[in-house]
Amino acid sequence: MSKIRIATTSLAGCFGCHMSFLDMDERLVELLEHVEFNRSPLTDIKHCGPCDIGLVEGGVCNAENVHVLREFRNNCKILIAVGACAINGGIPAMRNHFELRECLEEAYVNGVGVENPQIPDDVELPLLLDKVHPLHEVVHVDYYLPGCPPSADEFLSVLGDLLEGREPALPRSLLHYD
């Protein structure tokens, strides 16, 4: 039987959801008998190829996030929003209280210890969006894995359901937003 292909990425995330994924510890070994990883921070693959499942942590905060998210949506049969940031913007969305210019000036112009103050404007850098958005405001999302971060058991629960061909059903005991 061919392996299930999974891609993962972190957009405006903290990589904590990926760390929580790795928290399944030795259970990763058994999981790897059933799945293989495509584009992911854990592999060296640069672009997402056709996959069965895409796991996306982090909200959408800049233009590059939008491109990556669309690449995942176009290539993954099932796209899963992982963690609080992907679901509602999370802590980074607290910047939505302020104007983007205020945030940039605080960090690069008026911040303590800033030398040669200037807002970075090289074309290599992706422009920030005026607000941080959850994934589902940009692409269709098939399933949500709440938590900040979701526990390793939550990852196993949803992947277990999908590997068995079941509709994911997160047990109440694993449901948390914090």
């Binding site: 679901i87 509602n88 913007g89 999370g90 802590i91 939505n96 894995l145 900040c148 449901l175 937003y177």
Partner: protein, 270 residues
Amino acid sequence: MSAEAKQNTITIDGQEILFRQGQTIMDAALAAGVYIPHLCHKPGLAPHGSCKLCTVNIQDRNVSSSPSDRRVQTKFFVDIDSRSVSACTMPAVAGQHISNNTPELNEVRKTITQMLFIEGNHLCPSCEKTGDCTLQAVAYHLGMLDGHFPQFFPRREVDASHSSVMLDRDRCILCELCVRASREVDGKNVFAIAGRGINAHLIVNSPSGKLADSGLETGDMAAHICPVGAILIKEHGYEVPIGRRTFDLHQVGEIGLEKVILAKTRHTDE
């Protein structure tokens, strides 16, 4: 059951429940140990009817439908023998047949809860009330995974002027429990709701509009009754270890939790 008892009985999801004259469906249900999801209701305070989570369906047996009933002719399915009411404001009347814990009603309640989440800035990972929050616990109870709707990301004013109580309007769900507690129990009338529609917001009845200039004290019920993280006692956040917070130990559907939640200055274990 005697004929007399029958006259004081309502049926919720097939279970017969005795009520006293003057009780609402919610009062009767809670007294009988039946949980109807709610956020703006608190026994002892006047009912409010704003959160709509306690929406139940009443099948009126004396309502007869005929094929000419215009409700039958709509293209949407309408349960013609039932009507949706708020259990917290609807008086219990003998013979009522009430649906409460049904997949359909719980789906509606989940949608209402999602609306409350996206309308404010409910960032649980950074909230001091996480694990002790009734809104969050209700969302868990209903199996809510996401907000479904686009986020409003409102910009609302924080009032940290008071020396020991703070007000973070980002999380306010306009349940008016603080308004009622201050008015009916504390006798101070510190809080009110102002504004219309989506601009409705919690205000402080003081000359400056600031909490510092109100009569609010930490011992007041209004300072503790907030079911979410909008009104917080300062310098008492994150005191309870994860695993021992109110809703780590309890399900929101347990009856009599009001006392546990109201006595939050000290944890129930301690």
